[in-house]
């Protein structure tokens, strides 16, 4: 990796910092390169001695660090706007290291190649966060290796070939991270890059209303998407009805228009294999009186889900990559399965079970028992009423706020890190178990 690439990566990874702190950090590291070169070192040598840029970014930000992920990256650079720039990431584009003369705007092939590389790097960030060593190795392999080829290659196709070659190199890492995982993520990101190049997407607006009046036949709402943003809001009203709007491909839009109550279910199947990233779906669901649905089921591969309101017997959410926000939901149980992504829950009046491979979990104003199992990531929970909590993470900090004056039984165990727990009551009215292999645990009022 050369100086420009190193600094650009550091800038991307440290975008969470305040601008003045970030530019301070970047100029320090840039100076480091200059002093190193004066000692006769090459840029590559210096980059290697400095270590993985994500580590510097992570340490500078502190415990609240969130590695920028694929979906956040895509959100920030809608393609139609960025096509005119030599580089797509806003923080990246204004970086002086990449002058326009070096990456001329008219070279759209080059732009696409760079952009795809960046998408791929973002994907690698996801793995890096999960795999530690793999991240640096993966990125280094990719950057050191075919970079020149990448910069010169005019189409996404050649990048895909390069990725395959790089993956072969990664075989040695078998024990650390499964190759299948890497492949999945790389495939997801390259497919995405591919689609961007080849689909001339112009979103078409669709909308419709499914009216169920006073009928209480309706029991389940199921929404399945692969990529996009899904917003669902539940409201009280005098009838049962779903009003929806979408910006999507015609094949999906037509399928949505044909969706209606079947038996006791409404199922929106919005999967579309050559889907584009900016698909948007919004649903406003009106429920009469205190109508309780039997099931709300949401499935998504990449993107964002926002759910608000509603009363259910159970809620099931499955998400591969992205951001999940849920608030003001009342249910008997809520089960969430996530692979990569962050989660924000507020005022969920339900037993909540979350299983996640990777990501930050924030749950505020809880009233019912919460169980969280996490491979990597921090947990932040604020209890509104005393209830049992079980949190287990393999790596990450845990912070739990209990209500003022609540008397609970606390059990906190960290393999590595500080533990701060208030006085525990053996006959407390509720129990909190928190366990992490590495990370601080704080339980406080």
């Amino acid at each position: 990796m050369n100086k420009q690439e190193y600094l650009a990566l550091l800038r991307f990874y440290s975008q969470q910092l305040a601008p003045e702190v970030q530019s301070d950090l970047l100029s320090e590291v840039e100076a480091h390169f200059i002093y190193g070169e004066q000692q006769g070192k090459t840029e590559e040598q210096i980059a290697e001695e400095l270590g993985d840029p994500i580590e510097i970014a992570k340490e500078t930000v502190g415990p609240s660090y969130k590695a920028p992920d694929l979906s956040a990256y895509q959100e920030k650079c809608p393609t139609d706007e960025s096509l005119n720039y030599s580089y797509s990431h806003p923080n990246y584009a204004d970086y002086s290291g990449y002058s326009e003369s070096e990456y001329p705007t008219q070279s759209s092939g080059l732009f696409k190649a760079k952009k795809s590389l960046f998408t791929l790097l973002s994907a690698f960030t996801l793995i890096v966060v999960g795999g530690g060593l793999l991240v640096s190795t993966g990125v280094a392999y990719f950057i050191d290796g075919p970079d020149e080829k990448v910069a010169a290659s005019a189409s996404v196709e050649s990048i895909l070939e390069n990725v395959d070659k790089q993956l072969e190199h990664l075989e040695d890492l078998g024990e650390l991270v499964s190759k299948e995982d890497i492949k999945d993520i790389v495939e997801a990101s390259t497919t995405f890059a591919w689609d961007e190049e080849y689909s001339e997407f112009e979103g078409t607006h669709y909308e419709g209303v499914i009216k169920m009046g006073n009928s209480s036949k309706w029991k389940d709402l199921i929404i399945e998407t692969d990529i996009g943003e899904v917003d669902i809001e539940f409201k009280q009203g005098d009838r049962n009805e779903i009003a929806w709007k979408a910006v999507t491909a015609p094949s999906v839009g037509e399928r949505m228009e044909a969706t209606q109550l079947k038996n006791d279910q409404i199922i929106f199947e919005l999967d579309e294999s050559d889907m584009y990233a900016n698909y948007q779906y919004s649903f406003v669901v009106t429920l009469r009186d205190n109508y309780e649905l039997r099931k709300l089921q949401l499935e998504q591969e990449l993107g964002e889900i926002n759910v608000k309101g509603g009363k259910f017997e159970r809620v099931e959410i499955q998400m591969d990559n992205g951001i999940l926000r849920a608030s003001d939901i009342s249910s008997r149980s809520m089960n969430v399965e996530l692979e990569n992504g962050s989660t924000e829950f507020e005022r969920i009046d339900s037993i909540v079970n979350v299983e996640s491979d990777n990501g930050e979990i924030k749950i505020l104003e809880t009233t019912k028992p919460v169980n969280i199992k996490l491979d990597l990531g921090s947990v932040n929970l604020e209890m509104k009423q005393p209830h049992n909590v079980d949190v287990k993470t393999n790596m990450g900090a845990i912070e739990i706020e209990i209500p003022q004056g609540a008397k609970g039984k606390y059990l906190a165990k960290s393999g590595l890190g500080e533990v701060e727990v208030p006085a525990s009551y053996d006959n407390g009215t509720f129990r909190v178990n928190a366990k992490t292999d590495a990370g601080t645990i704080i339980i406080k009022e």
Partner: protein
Amino acid sequence: MKEIVQFKKGVLGLCAMMLIHKRDRYGFELAQTISEHVDVAEGAIYPVLRRLVADGHCSTYLQESTEGPPRKYYRLTPEGKIYMEQLVHEWGRFVSNINGLIESYETEVE
């Protein structure tokens, strides 16, 4: 061994303060010197230096250099000096306690 990584990270601030205490130094110099003593990536020092400044343990000033860009020097503040001395003391206690534990473990094993 993630423990070792954590140990190294924890001690970087102390190393930096001790070196700065001897004389004012700039980041590159600190990164190089520390990585001679502790096996860490040179880049790891920059977040540590930032924190030392943010916590008021160090101040900085720029000095022109004949070779290359102006250097950002770090200087220990009076509070930083007190803090460093506390850390050195705590470190000594910590090491001797842990060594005691290791010795008793080794005797048991024998």
